[in-house]
């Protein structure tokens, strides 16, 4: 590992300033489960790591009457075991529990999973279909954007290059009548990335689909919200033929790569299958 400076930030302002002053040379250190191996492999050579774990405002899960706020420092283990999340947003606790290993879940954070911006980041598709927003704190102030706009490319986000810190994820509580499903395909249960993942959320009102959201993971440069698939479902009664039209729309949006884990063709086939399974669950 190359030499680097380590700053234990005492406040959000100190961390934001340090990142902005060292643009392109500094990175946030949260759980370290991505950052440390990347530095060891020489994939990244940061001159400064800004440890944000001492900033209390970045931690904690707060439940309001209409939304839940998850601090970016929340570990995957905390997300998996938090009673509020288990009760109100079980798709997130189940997803967190399936990620990596207990040791990595004890360190790895929600913010890290999102800011690392892997196209396969497992928290992204369910958060997209939940309609989550992310709160970003930068030098110029804070702003809140839909999570699907946070991802700009593989490893690139709206705050890459020292342009701020992800403070929290804000998730509106699903309206009554909402069904949510998240299907991932991975050859190994532990310590492996999803080859493909599909999340779907559907809300029915008097039998018709009032609202539909569909997102695709690991099949494009970013976790993808698929509006064509959503439009194929909206207003229908959710018959098998409607689901199949949505699956086709989702497959048309998929642009998977082939790599050491799977070929592009295999990913495409599995995207179709995961989409069918996720939609069958939310339309049942």
């Amino acid at each position: 590992m190359e030499k680097f400076e380590y700053l234990k930030a005492q406040s959000l302002r100190e961390a934001v300033d340090a990142l902005a002053r060292n643009r392109g040379k500094a990175a946030v250190l949260a759980g370290g489960t991505d950052a440390i191996p990347a530095m060891r492999r020489g994939k990244s050579s940061w001159k400064l790591l800004v440890d944000v774990k001492g900033i209390p405002s970045l931690g904690g899960i707060k439940a309001g009457s209409r939304a839940v706020s998850i601090g970016s420092l929340t570990t995957l283990a905390e997300l998996a075991s938090n009673p509020v999340i288990i009760e109100k947003l079980p798709v997130l606790s189940a997803t967190a529990l399936n990620m990596a290993s207990p040791q990595v879940r004890n360190r790895g954070t929600v913010g890290g999973n999102l800011c690392n911006a892997a196209p396969s980041a497992d928290l992204a598709p369910p958060l997209i279909v939940l309609g989550a927003k992310v709160k970003i704190v930068a030098r110029g102030g804070e702003r809140t954007i839909p999570i699907e706009e946070f991802f700009e490319g593989p490893g690139i986000t709206a705050i890459s290059g020292g342009r701020g810190i992800l403070a929290s994820v804000i998730i509106p509580l699903p309206k009554p009548g909402t069904k949510i499903s998240f299907k991932t395909h991975t050859p190994r249960m532990a310590m492996d990335l999803s080859l493909v993942s599909v999340a779907a959320a559907v809300r029915r009102d008097k039998g018709r689909i009032a609202e539909a959201r569909v997102a695709l993971g690991a099949c494009a440069p970013v976790p993808l919200r698929c509006r064509d698939a959503e439009e194929a479902l909206a207003g229908t009664s959710g018959e098998a033929s409607d689901a199949e039209r949505a699956v086709e729309a989702l497959c048309a949006a998929a642009r998977p790569i082939g790599d050491v884990r799977a070929s592009a063709g295999y990913r495409r086939d599995m995207a179709k299958e995961m989409a069918r399974r996720a939609l069958a669950e939310v339309l049942s």
């Binding site: 590992m1 380590y6 250190l29 759980g31 370290g32 489960t33 440390i36 191996p37 060891r40 492999r41 790591l49 440890d51 774990k53 283990a77 990596a100 290993s101 207990p102 040791q103 990595v104 004890n106 360190r107 249960m189 532990a190 310590m191």
Partner: protein
């Protein structure tokens, strides 16, 4: 410097093994403030003011931890490389789940790779330690 390198190279405490150094194999698992972590994924400077427990610190008053004894009794060790990490992970697991099912014990070690035993006797050892600790042993 990672916590793993600090333990092994600076303190000379080589009970914690260095396997993959990428957080995949679990051989370097230690307890940081009571939670199991891959010490290769933690910087030594991040541990300032925190409690680090390694395999060297597990026995108390000259007595092995019940999980260490169970690993010997059940033949859960072959080459021994994964053993310190398996035991540290098992200690955290049994604190949170003192009466696990075989399936739970198996999932608990999903982040620890063993290339010798086929895991069978490791799972048996975790379950045996749970029974022993319920009987009033050291925790």
């Amino acid at each position: 410097m990672t916590l793993l390198d600090f333990l092994r190279e600076y303190l000379g405490m080589t009970g914690t093994n260095a396997g993959c150094r990428t957080g995949d194999c679990g051989a370097c698992t230690v307890l940081l403030d009571g939670k199991s972590v891959n010490s290769c994924l933690v910087l030594a400077c991040e541990c300032d003011g925190k409690a680090v427990l390694t395999i060297e610190g597990l026995s108390a008053g000259g007595r092995l931890h019940p999980l260490q004894e169970a690993f010997m009794d059940e033949g859960a060790v072959q080459c021994g490389f994964c053993t310190p990490g398996m035991i540290m992970r098992g200690v955290e697991f049994l604190r949170g789940n003192p009466d696990p099912s075989p399936a739970e014990a198996r999932v608990a070690i999903e982040g620890n790779i063993c290339r010798c035993t086929g895991y069978e006797n490791i799972v048996k050892a975790v379950l045996a330690a749970a029974r022993k600790m319920k009987g009033g042993g050291v925790a």
